[in-house]
């Protein structure tokens, strides 16, 4: 790979002050904005999680009322999914995709600015529901009617904020697709693209195909409540279960929207630190595509207990189990990449390995609950809570942390503090397991999810879980400290940063110029 020496006359620095950030169309600035926004929302959502866990430390109600508790579970989920994880991945895409494919910027820089700046408004609107009459939405992030229709003044705010978040994601995704299709450097064929770019390419299609369906579903809720339609009201010939079908038609692909970019990140990091090319590049691409396809035909496994014909239950069971195949291929490929490599274990690698192991644990429980007859026992218990937190916290969130440690030296030009980073990994890993592993046990023993108080036989594991939660929550303050410290200074990073790193982004200086690849490199 060869970067042409860029014409220095075209390089101009960013504007100064606040206006730089408001008016910016630069993919690096916007990427940073997304990442900071995501970090703030991660901390807000994390505080909510700690309120939940504090209440669940002991049986009986100690700190909050049941209605507020339900608001916390609802808001925690919405904020973490739409406010923390999705913007984090979009931020990484903004920073890295142009640099990985040798593009000067995103294809639609002005739309890029809008898609970010919608987010703070949507996020504020969502958080503001906490302060209106009747309290924040408390019907679960799944917003099932008829319960969600009992929401007070927060209801239209919730719907509008989901609409805004949807707009932002759709615009961001179109931008990513357009960038990948049109701005690849000469010679960068599709099958030469780094895997992070590939997984985001597929994720972006999932987003533009499913976010509008969610928007439609919540619009129907809105008209049901205020304009006397009866999409989900049995009295008018509607069906509340239909909402669940439409919601999960969005919701299941959404699950993969949250995990495919993580697969991409891990597929970048493991080869770097194993000093060995990714095993089975093309099968990784095909596996990602087949997971994306399967995600559209498995949605009803979230709702096996609503009462479906046996044939439908069998279909959704088998289709769901089938997802284990391409997911397995990915895990096997990562292990084979590590196999007979020459590994070192810097922080990004630790997080990536942690991801593979703990995501796989979440995958196993996923396989268990794919089986309809046993899902009747698991459904809506803490076993489910344990499952999706395993795939989302030591899964998706660990991948974001891995990515931050991996690319932070490139973004800032400074190395982060390696021993602090490793310490952050180890305490996060230990506490996250103390937090979520016991939830498997209480779930199997019969504790339903979304309850503020529980029967005393569940106490021990809930206490352990709460201790893990506070440990994990506090560990993330260290993460914030490490990031701020690295941004402000530190040992200078080389352009290559990592010995085994390969790809166009490592041919740029650390930190990269404000405008990079104004002349596209030739990829051989």
């Amino acid at each position: 790979m060869n970067a042409h020496v860029a014409d220095t006359h075209e390089h101009h620095g960013p504007e100064k002050g606040l206006m730089r950030w408001i008016t910016t169309t630069n993919h690096k600035d916007i990427g940073s904005l997304y990442l900071w926004f995501s970090l703030i929302m991660f901390l807000i959502g994390g505080v909510m999680a700690l309120i939940i866990r504090a209440e669940l430390f002991q049986p009986g109600l100690q700190f909050v009322d049941p209605q507020f508790f339900n608001s916390m579970t609802t808001m925690h989920a919405l904020i973490m999914i739409f406010g923390a994880l999705m913007p984090a991945f979009v931020g990484l895409a903004n920073w890295m995709i142009p640099m990985m494919i040798g593009a000067p910027d995103m294809a639609l820089p002005r739309m890029n600015n809008w898609s970010f700046w919608i987010l703070p408004f949507a996020g504020t609107l969502l958080v503001a529901t906490l302060f209106v009459e009747g309290g924040a939405p408390a019907s679960g992030w799944t917003m099932y009617p008829p319960l969600v229709l009992q929401t007070g003044a927060a209801f239209p705010m919730l719907i509008f904020s989901v609409h805004l978040l949807g707009f932002s994601s759709i615009m961001g995704s179109i931008n990513i697709i357009a960038t990948i299709m049109n701005l690849r450097a000469p010679g960068m064929t599709y099958m030469k693209m780094p895997l992070f770019v590939w997984t985001w390419f597929i994720t972006a299609y999932l987003l533009i195909a499913t976010m509008p369906v969610l928007a439609g579903a919540v619009t129907m809720l809105l008209t049901d409540k205020y304009f006397a339609t009866s999409f989900f009201d049995a009295a008018g010939g509607g069906d509340p279960v239909m909402f669940q079908h439409i919601f999960w038609f969005f919701g299941h692909p959404e699950v993969y929207i949250l995990i495919l970019p993580a697969f991409g990140i891990v597929s970048q990091i493991i080869p770097t630190f194993a000093r060995k090319p990714l095993f089975g590049y093309s099968s990784m691409v095909y596996a990602t595509a087949s997971i994306a396809f399967l995600s559209f035909i498995v949605w009803a496994h979230h709702m096996f207990t609503v009462g479906m014909p046996v044939a439908a239950e069998l279909f959704f069971m088998m289709a769901t189990m089938l997802i284990a195949v391409p997911t397995g291929v990915k895990v096997f490929n990562w292990v084979s990449t590590m196999w007979r490599g020459s590994m070192t274990f810097e922080t990004p690698m630790l997080f990536a390995i942690g991801f593979v192991m703990m995501f796989t644990i979440g995958g196993f429980s996923g396989l268990m609950m794919a089986m309809t007859p046993i899902d009747f026992q698991y459904h809506d218990t803490y076993f489910i809570v344990a499952h999706f937190h395993y795939v989302l916290v030591p899964g998706a969130i660990f991948s974001v942390m891995a990515a931050v440690y991996y690319w932070l030296p490139k973004w800032t030009g400074n190395m982060y503090d390696e021993s602090l980073g490793k310490f952050h990994f180890w305490i996060s890993t230990i506490f996250v397991n103390i937090l979520f592993f016991p939830q498997h046990f209480v779930g199997l023993a019969g504790m339903p999810r979304r309850i503020p108080d529980y029967s005393v036989q569940f106490t021990d594991f809930n206490m352990i879980s709460t201790v893990g939660a506070f440990g994990f929550g506090l560990s993330q303050l260290l993460f914030v400290y490490i990031i701020i410290k690295t941004v402000r200074g530190g040992e200078k990073a080389t352009d290559q940063v990592w010995e085994g790193a390969e790809g166009l982004e490592w041919t740029l200086s650390s930190p990269p110029e404000y405008h990079t690849f104004t002349v596209q490199p030739d990829v051989k």
Partner: protein
């Protein structure tokens, strides 16, 4: 130019998918009619019903239950708990509803059938469902229904439960 056309196509995807979300409503209804997924019953005309052949050797128990949604001010009960019926023959049953208020009110009843695999084979030729029923203050009324079970109802169905839920549509003040 090509880029712009591609972009236009990309923008069309979310627009179409938004429409698809709404399209799922009729699709779901058709799907439900075909599979009985949400317990919605089949319906045929009286003429069609008279064409069906009575199956003497099979007896199916039909149970009737009722509920009043959101504990509205109604008394609503089936007049018989169960009947033994032959597939292919039409039967009559009645429910009684009473408005407990001193005001006029309008109700609407929604049927549902369990098990769902029997739903599509449970046909009603006369029914008070899905139409609004106006009640005078304290009025009590018998509401009739006529039904016929398809001769091709699955062999492992020996009990069918018909449930009516009565919703309050409006109360005159």
């Amino acid at each position: 130019m090509k880029t712009q056309r591609n972009l236009l196509k990309l923008f069309m995807i979310p627009v179409l998918m938004f429409g698809f979300g709404y399209l799922m409503v009729p699709i779901y209804d058709v799907f439900c009619d075909l599979t009985g997924i949400n317990g919605k019953t089949g319906s045929i005309t009286v003429a069609e019903a008279s064409q069906q052949k009575k199956v003497e050797e099979r007896l199916i128990k039909v149970e009737f239950v009722s509920s009043v949604n959101e504990l509205g001010p109604w008394e609503f009960k089936p007049d018989q708990f169960s009947m033994m019926v032959h597939p292919g023959q039409a039967y009559h049953a009645t429910y009684t509803a009473k408005n407990l208020l001193d005001k006029d009110a309008i109700s609407q009843s929604v049927p549902s059938v369990a098990p769902s695999k029997a739903a599509e084979h449970f046909n009603k030729t006369e029914c008070f469902c899905f139409t609004e029923q106006a009640f005078k203050a304290n009025e009590e009324r018998t509401m009739p229904l006529t039904f016929i079970i398809d001769p091709d109802v699955p062999d492992d169905v020996d009990t069918v439960t018909l449930s009516y839920t009565l919703f309050t549509k409006s109360i005159k003040s």
